[in-house]
Symmetry: none
Subunit: 442 residues, 2 copies
């Protein structure tokens, strides 16, 4: 069983306020942003509570958040209209009242003067703050934020109140809240982490491979599956002078245990890695896609600058196009079928020939839900790679049995195809690409 507090910093909680967040109209990206920024400085977020614009619910959220956190950061509910209720709720929880801040009131008046519009009287509401609040200026909008201590039995947790507009909230968090939080931390502690992107092992297989690798007193492992990649993160908290060395020690253990399943360190994707390798090795790539339908090309071209190594290729969805544009033989299709190693190899070779690229990667398969047979069920996929130095005739191929629905089969096909390119460029046998992912964390 995991213990209840892993990080050295104070415990934080986040509150997101707004009807649009609980009726499904808006995804709450503010909480994610704040949580990531806090985590990066070693502050753990214990809870995120989201409520609509009702005073009782906002008070409820504050009471429960303040009960287990030393810092509670809230966004939303600071606008000028009747359903903006954060400040009066905070005042209620803090057992105090709202008071007009003349400086802020003047700033709001001037803002309206500057933009040449009359100020609706209710805008002055944005100059009301709980007694004792330290105002956090908002350079990008009219809603200032604030910090205020909320006496709660013996404790004195701090409420940090920010507007809900992401641009304004982010600027205030980065420029004012994060520096303030860092000033609160003990001088000599810091939290560092490193992320490994993997492919070829399921989350549970990674879990097993890393069992006992990291002493829980030294560091912490976490996993995130973003199908078809799984990332592993190792985090340490230590004295400033020790943290970096310890992180590197633990990272080395992860590297050794996971081997070639690690496709990269840091926040990156398979297509980024493949792009970087193609660029480094000065090779160009072409695709011949049947069952992946353009997905391999689409992923490769999601990487900025991919035009320097990706020439394009053929989406050969019909058999006719496999022949017309890639030169697959009619006899090959007749005797082995479109989903066969023979066809895939001719497609990969055809992609090189038709485009002049250094590497040709081909996919053909049955993505389903229809089209499967007893011999070649849905999920049967063939990958082939044509490139200098592969086997005797510069091409390799393999049949896979993939699973999942149509989109998963396509996605997994594209991932294996990209992993073949990666392994070839690293000087590994492409056929060592394995996989057993389950997709996102359940």
């Amino acid at each position: 069983m995991r213990n209840d507090h892993n990080t050295p910093g104070p415990i934080a909680a986040i509150i997101s306020t707004g009807d649009e967040l609980v009726n499904g109209r808006t995804v709450d990206t503010n909480a994610t942003f704040i949580a990531e920024r806090l985590g990066a400085i070693g502050i753990e977020v214990r809870s995120v509570i989201t409520v609509g614009d009702y005073p009782d619910r906002i008070v409820w959220a504050w009471q429960h958040s303040l009960a287990h956190a030393e810092v509670v950061i809230s966004t939303g509910g600071l606008g000028p209209t009747a359903d903006d209720l954060t400040s009066e709720s905070v005042a209620r929880v803090a057992g105090t009242e709202l008071r007009l801040d003349e400086t802020e009131a003047e700033r709001i008046r001037q803002h309206f003067q500057k933009v040449g519009r009359p100020m609706p009287e209710n805008n002055l509401k944005q100059a009301l703050f709980p007694v004792g609040a330290e105002i956090i200026p908002n350079k990008l909008g009219t809603a200032a934020g604030y910090r205020v201590v909320v006496p709660l039995n013996e404790r004195r947790p701090i409420a940090v109140v920010l507007p809900g507009v992401p641009r304004e909230m982010k600027a205030m968090l980065e420029d004012q809240i994060i520096p303030w939080l860092l000033r609160q931390a003990p001088e000599d502690r810091c939290t560092l982490s490193r992320t490994f992107q993997t492919f070829g092992m399921s989350e549970s297989a990674l879990d097993e491979a890393l069992e006992g690798a990291i002493d829980p007193d030294k560091g912490r492992l976490s996993f995130r599956a973003s199908f078809p990649q799984v990332s592993v993160r190792v985090t340490v908290t230590d004295r400033r002078t020790h943290a970096e060395r310890r992180l590197e020690e633990l990272a080395q253990i992860v590297r050794e245990r996971l081997g070639a399943a690690v496709i990269a360190e840091g926040e990156t994707t398979m297509e980024d890695v493949v792009g970087r390798l193609l660029r480094e090795h000065k090779r160009t790539l072409a695709v011949a896609e049947s069952c992946s339908g353009g997905l391999v090309g689409n992923r490769i071209t999601n990487v900025p600058g991919s035009s320097s190594y990706f020439v394009g290729g053929v989406i050969a969805y019909s058999n006719e196009l496999k022949q017309r544009l890639l030169g697959v033989q009619q006899s090959t299709l007749t005797s082995h079928g479109a989903v066969s190693e023979e066809t895939a190899r001719e497609m990969a070779l055809g992609a090189r020939r038709a485009t002049g690229a250094d590497l040709g990667i081909a996919t053909t398969g049955i993505a389903g839900p229809d089209g499967g047979t007893a011999e070649k069920p849905v999920g049967t996929v063939v990958i082939a790679l044509a490139a200098d130095g592969l086997d005797s005739d510069n091409v390799r191929s393999r049949i896979y049995r993939l699973w999942g629905n149509r989109e998963w089969v396509k996605l997994l096909t594209s991932q294996v195809a990209l992993d073949w390119v990666r392994r070839y460029l690293l000087g590994l046998d492409p056929l060592t690409s394995v996989f057993g992912m389950r997709g996102r964390k359940h």
Copy 2:
């Protein structure tokens, strides 16, 4: 002051569980999805609580959610690893224990047998459920969900536990939870809704276009932006005998106000609509993709059965491939550039010629972040369609100025390209395809 309960159905709460949600690695889109679906059937969400994978915090979230809601829907924490703790926490809150369900255990064993991998022993954890739970099958993954009554003083709120994988969660919610919730409503009342998928208008433009259209006493409107589509849902709650007629009345108002911006009714995508139209009109389609890099083909082939109307095409990312495979003239590229109406038209015509398809759709543009010029900034995209009956030479084209990052420009490009095919098949001028989306609401 607003009253505290606006909708006719029961009060709900949502819990999202997972370290990745409170450390900023993953944006919680599950809660938004669930909130929107509940809102559409008249169930109000009072709170969303997000916690990491710690038993005490999960229990805390359940206790506080169950205290003010009749139905609590949770996602996450149902995986096979040690940090998947939802079920044991729910059992603790419900004052019961976990028990192995043999049927589920067998299903999991068979799943691993089918994919030909040994089952890690810890996967059997996914067959443990609180005593009294009604299992909700998961057709797309190994983590089944369940419903269980949690006796709480005099109340008997219901816990609904779903996996965190969005695809699996969504299918289980749509197919099993929503129908079950609808069956809980009083016998003579029912809630019906209809969804319109739109393209070409921003959420605020839709909001304006529908202003005053629906009497709030008769029905409710809700919006969901899933870039680049925005869906509009109209919902009525009424006596069984009246609901259907009223819904149709309101749906007709929406249809009239939104016109051709509605691409379909129901849960469907642009590629589904285009596929259905191609099939109905017995036409085949080929692509010639430059800046979209394979995305148009990828989206078309996400639709099962697309091989009956999609032949494939060319990803002509380099200028050389535009010439080699699509027959674009060197002189056209030299005098007008790759991103020009002239090049796009030759690409679209070339796609038809090279493949023999009835329609050829071409994209070329500057997806960024590099490659823009003063005359053709990042986001400049040209779409061309070649098909019988278009203008004098069977091809039309248009330059667009799109916005957003590289992936948005690509996505929007593919959406406009598909909308051209849709409009052409409907007998409309493809150039009437407009759009003014801003992306997500702040």
